[in-house]
Amino acid sequence: MLTARAQGDDMDLQGTSAIVTGASRGLGRALAEALASAGVKVVAVARHEGPLGDLVAGIRARGGVAHAIAADVANKDAVHRVIGQATALVGPIDLAIHNASTLGPVPLRLLLDTDCEDLAAVLETNLVGPFRMTKAIAGQMALRGRGTIVHVSSDAAVSAYPRWGAYGVSKAAQDHLSRILAAELEGTGVRVLAIDPGEMDTEMHAAAIPDADRASLARPADVAAKIVAMIRSDRPTGARLEAAQW
């Protein structure tokens, strides 16, 4: 079987526009930096302004284009404000990466010990937020006949790990959101991908598994580079890709 690399990095990202959520740290931050290095105009979204400021300043210092928008993707009222502002700043959006997500309260608990409100809050951030944002972006992509939407998934979407209930349910649902969107948008030129980045050395991972051997975990920058390559590849819409297999 051909590897994705052999299939070619045929998509030039230079000059395109992207929005990345959860961009203040971890994989989101690494993705924003990797995309900016590839010549993409990046809109970085996260709840807190401070860390975004450093990110944007860093990208600009290297000659890239980046803007920060402080917003919570789980906030319904924020969605059109984020997308409208992003489009005003960098033009029509070519790539949306739904990376922001929450584990819910840590330490992680058994489902029977999980408060209903906590499950709902996890779904709001990890599933409903990306869904709303896609509603505000995929239409402009479909009209122009091009665009890529990426859902950052997890192996917890596929495997049933005890204590990862709320997160796992939200990621499994997000994978299916990805597949159904892909089916509905077939033929429009809008590609929808779910990408499992694998285990990375991030604050989120440390919160979930505090005693993990950090040396065994992938660096977010390396994973981000792989994800950018996946986006540039011609993998078809609806695909679920794993960084560990790339």
Binding site: V79, G84, T87, A88, L89, A136
Partner: protein
């Protein structure tokens, strides 16, 4: 709260007039694909709606509401105290402002660049204190609300004023003819072989509360027609297909482009002055009277310019373009001498 509390978008009624069959039918938007097919081109305005209503104050502390109607250049319509629950025509006039005055809004300070001669409510603004365009957008999206009118009391949420394909925020008010177009409808149109293409037109406000200003609407509105859209429209015309403009903003953009674009390839920047020189000869003994009007691309007279006297049968005048928005304009020069009249048009485009 649901997205649209009244009628589902695709349930909006659609009046279908078939001039060839001399038939009129009342349908629903959901049925639009039934009336269209291969060879037809549907053109939508993909402008997103700016949440352009900002509430702030003058430097003296007087309340002022600014409705941002265009961002390049930055123009706004000002109102005094009150909110959207008061009918626009009953709204208090804004505090008197002059060029150079500052207006303070949450996260944004602007300076009045000029006040329109048409109405003291219409002002051109510049961002103050070295702030960037990005900061202007941030302030608008943090604090702004969509323009709305008194028939609905509850504040309009952002999603209620966006079409299903809203892209760049250029519109002061929603290009609302496209509001009923769901993706169910748009994809069905494409399945039937109709093309769905877009242009972007900065739809302006529908009311300003000032009779003189209302009479001048629509103000010059910028638009952009992508190459692919122009090609699709021209091809449809050539093969006798139908071009369905979703709303008057699309009609305005297409018509302006069709009539003025071929001669309007000259671009001017904001600091340029357009020099107009026209030869104007009349029969001996008669002295021509010359009148020069500035028209928008639709042919509406924006203002009558002071035409200087002829010198050796030539008229020379300069037109500062700093106060003109990005758009296509036409100068109409009319000369009359006795029974004789002559008319000439010059089209030009402002692009910054």
């Amino acid at each position: 709260m649901t997205g649209d509390a009244w009628v589902a978008r695709e349930e909006v009624r659609l009046l279908v007039v078939d001039p060839r069959a001399r038939e009129v039918e009342v349908a629903r938007f959901a049925e639009l694909p039934r009336f269209l097919g291969a060879g037809d081109v549907v053109v939508v305005n993909d402008a997103a709606t700016i949440p352009g209503v900002l509430r702030g104050s003058t430097s003296c502390g007087a309340f002022v509401e600014a409705r941002v109607i265009e961002t390049e250049p930055l123009r706004a319509i000002l109102f005094g105290p009150g909110d959207h629950t008061i009918r626009t025509e009953d709204r208090a006039p804004p505090p008197r402002v002059f060029a150079g005055d500052r207006l303070h809004f949450p996260g944004l300070i602007v300076r009045i660049a000029n006040v329109s001669p048409i109405s003291p409510r219409l002002v051109e603004l510049t961002i103050d204190g070295g702030a960037t365009v990005a900061e202007l957008w941030r302030a608008i999206y943090r604090a702004g609300a969509p323009i709305q009118y008194a028939h609905r009391r509850e504040p309009l949420p952002m999603w209620a004023v966006q079409t299903a394909y809203a892209t760049r925020p250029w519109a002061a008010e929603m290009p609302s003819a496209g509001r009923p177009l769901t993706w169910e409808i748009l994809l069905a149109l494409r399945r039937r072989g109709a093309e769905v293409v877009a242009l972007t037109h900065a739809a302006g406000p529908s009311a300003t509360g000032d009779a003189a200003l209302d009479a001048a609407l629509p103000l010059p509105e910028r638009y952009e027609i992508p190459e692919a859209t122009a090609r699709a429209v021209n091809a449809a015309h050539r093969r006798g297909g139908r071009v369905i403009a979703i709303g008057t903003t699309v009609v305005r953009a297409l018509e302006a482009n069709a009539t003025a674009a071929p001669t309007a390839s000259t671009k001017f920047g904001p600091t340029d002055r357009v020099l107009v020189e026209i030869e104007c000869q009349a029969q001996e003994g008669l002295s021509p009277q010359v009148k020069v009007d500035l028209l928008n691309a639709r042919g509406d007279v924006l203002r009558t310019l002071d035409a200087p006297a002829l010198t050796d049968g030539r008229l020379r005048m300069t037109l500062p373009v700093a106060s003109l928005a990005n758009s296509t304009y036409v100068l109409r020069i009319e000369a009359a001498a006795g029974e004789q009249t002559a008319q000439q048009w010059v089209a030009f485009r402002i692009a910054r």
